[in-house]
């Protein structure tokens, strides 16, 4: 199935070539729409600045994702202990989720220093899909298997470790993949909201800064890096997910067409 891989790549290359040609034929100035080659030049010239910014943004994203995973899974396990706990605290998680992060960010920036506020925003958006998916997974355990564990006198902890957590794993991994993308979005949104006070100087701050200076190629270059970072996170989580589910889950089963 080589065509399945080559086709999207060819389409992408054709798109870039079309863009390049359009800019040259129409003589569009770089401060309106830079050609891909010009963006590539900006990427190389500003590499020191941009790679440092990329590192800052990635660090926050990964940290937020790790926090969201730890706290999300811990809360889901806690909720699984009693429906009473779940009914009490789940609505709060929902409220945090449905309030757009870009609206919360300015407030957080007042209470916290810029770096912490950005981390908090990225955490807030990433945490909900992990919590809700893991909670769903923990409550979707096969009833016959639960009976079996009861029959053999399994303790609560044994049920959790040997039965409920493994059967929640595919749900958790689905949540994690969504959370990975959201953590990056949350970090970028918070950096934009932080604006000039963004001392940490992540990629979003560099976009804003380049915008003020009308350095459009650099804006595009930073944008490219954000996309690449998002794709890299997605691929990494996809890889982890496939590895963990490889031999047993239906989602990893090859089907002949």
């Amino acid at each position: 199935m080589k065509t399945a891989r080559i086709l999207p790549l060819l389409t992408f290359v054709a798109l870039l070539l079309g863009w390049e040609a359009l800019v040259h034929i129409q003589n569009i100035p770089a401060y309106v729409l830079p050609a891909p080659s010009r963006i590539f030049v900006a990427l190389r010239e500003d590499w020191e600045l941009l790679s440092a910014a990329l590192f800052v943004t990635l660090k926050i994203t990964v940290l937020a994702l790790a926090l969201a995973t730890g706290i999300g899974v811990a809360l889901a396990i806690l909720f699984a202990q009693s429906t009473w706990l779940e009914r009490t605290f789940f609505p709060i998680a929902v409220i945090l989720q449905v309030t757009p992060i870009i609206a919360i960010a300015p407030l957080l920036l007042i209470y916290l220093d810029a770096g912490t506020a950005v981390l908090a925003c990225a955490f807030l958006v990433a945490f909900f899909p992990i919590l809700s998916n893991t909670a769903l997974g923990l409550s979707s355990t096969d009833h016959n298997l639960r009976d079996l564990f009861d029959l053999y006198g399994a303790s609560r902890w044994q049920q959790m470790r040997l039965l409920r957590l493994p059967s929640a794993l595919p749900y958790f991994l689905g949540g994690l993949r969504i959370a990975g993308g959201l953590a990056l979005i949350g970090a970028i949104a918070a950096e934009i909201a932080a604006g000039a006070s963004g001392q940490g100087a992540g990629l979003a701050y560099r976009i804003l800064e380049a915008g003020y200076r009308l350095n459009i190629p650099r804006m595009f270059a930073a944008l490219v890096l954000i996309s690449v970072a998002g794709i890299a996170i997605w691929l990494a989580l996809e890889f982890v997910s496939t590895r963990l589910l490889a031999r047993w889950h239906e989602s990893t089963r090859a089907r002949s067409p």
Binding site: D142, N144, L145, D147, L148, F149, D150, L151, Y152, G153, A154, Q158, L162, L163, P166, S167, L169, R247, W248, H249, E250, R253
Partner: protein, 247 residues
């Protein structure tokens, strides 16, 4: 020698369904008892009560000695999909705190008995329906239970697999000296397997007829051709029809 007896057992579910009413059943060691009846007649509930997965509202369930180790086989193989066959069969021992090293000979013995000795490393999704059920039976046998409870275990299997498993089950019972209580809605299956058939009637579930078939033990395919087998089938069918009419 008696193993357990149920006396005047009643059970009503929270939704108001009266599942069992005045159920009496005496089980002796070495029995192979089939609970035969239409769907929803409470035979699975009776099995779950014996396993201790449900509590009766009324009546008494008495074990002759202490409650023995029980193996339970569900209609679905109910294997953990994330664990290979070995680890699935290891489960009952693991929950009892037995180490993997101590458990290994017992697990391999159980797997060999059901004919899965070469499939310890396979995952459930790599097995056929019949093999999954064999793995499920191996898991139930690994504790060497005195009592094996089976809830329509072969209902979803094809005819040939089913006949083979029926034959193997009788051999296993004889080898391991188990008592078996087997829920089914198949007249032919119950007539082939059982030493005694208890025909259940619909809601509320109770036994309307008990048919003694003969001593338990391995039976060849030729047993299905004997006049005794055909007579048992006829009696069981008649009783089952009667049970359906009452519903």
């Amino acid at each position: 020698m008696s193993l357990l007896s149920l006396s005047q057992i009643g059970k009503t579910f929270p939704n108001g369904t009266r599942a069992l009413d005045q159920l009496d059943l005496a089980v002796s060691r070495g029995d192979f008892i089939s609970l035969l009846g239409p769907s929803g007649c409470g035979k699975s509930t009776a099995l779950r009560l014996i396993a201790g997965l449900e509590r009766a509202d009324s009546g008494t369930l008495t074990w002759d000695e202490a409650k023995p180790d029980i193996g339970f086989v569900f209609q679905d193989p109910t294997l953990m999909p994330w664990a290979n066959v070995f680890d699935n069969v290891f489960l009952p021992l693991r929950l009892k705190g037995v180490t993997r090293a101590d458990a290994t000979p017992k697990i391999m013995d159980a797997l060999t008995r059901v004919g899965l000795g070469d499939f310890a490393d396979s995952f459930p999704r790599e097995l056929s329906g019949g093999m999954k059920m064999r793995a499920s039976i191996a898991r139930a046998l690994v504790l060497r239970p005195a009592l094996l409870l089976m809830d329509e275990p072969f209902a979803a299997l094809d005819e040939i697999t089913r006949l083979k498993l029926n034959r193997d089950l009788l051999e296993l019972q004889a080898e391991l000296g188990m008592t078996v209580i087997f829920v089914t809605h198949s007249v032919y299956e119950s007539a082939y397997l059982s030493s005694r058939i208890c025909v259940f009637s619909n809601r509320p579930g109770h036994i309307i007829e008990t048919i003694d078939v003969g001593p338990s033990g391995p039976r060849g395919e030729e047993f299905r051709l004997t006049s005794a087998y055909l007579e048992t089938c006829q009696r069981a069918s008649a009783a089952l029809e009667q049970a359906m009419e009452r519903a």
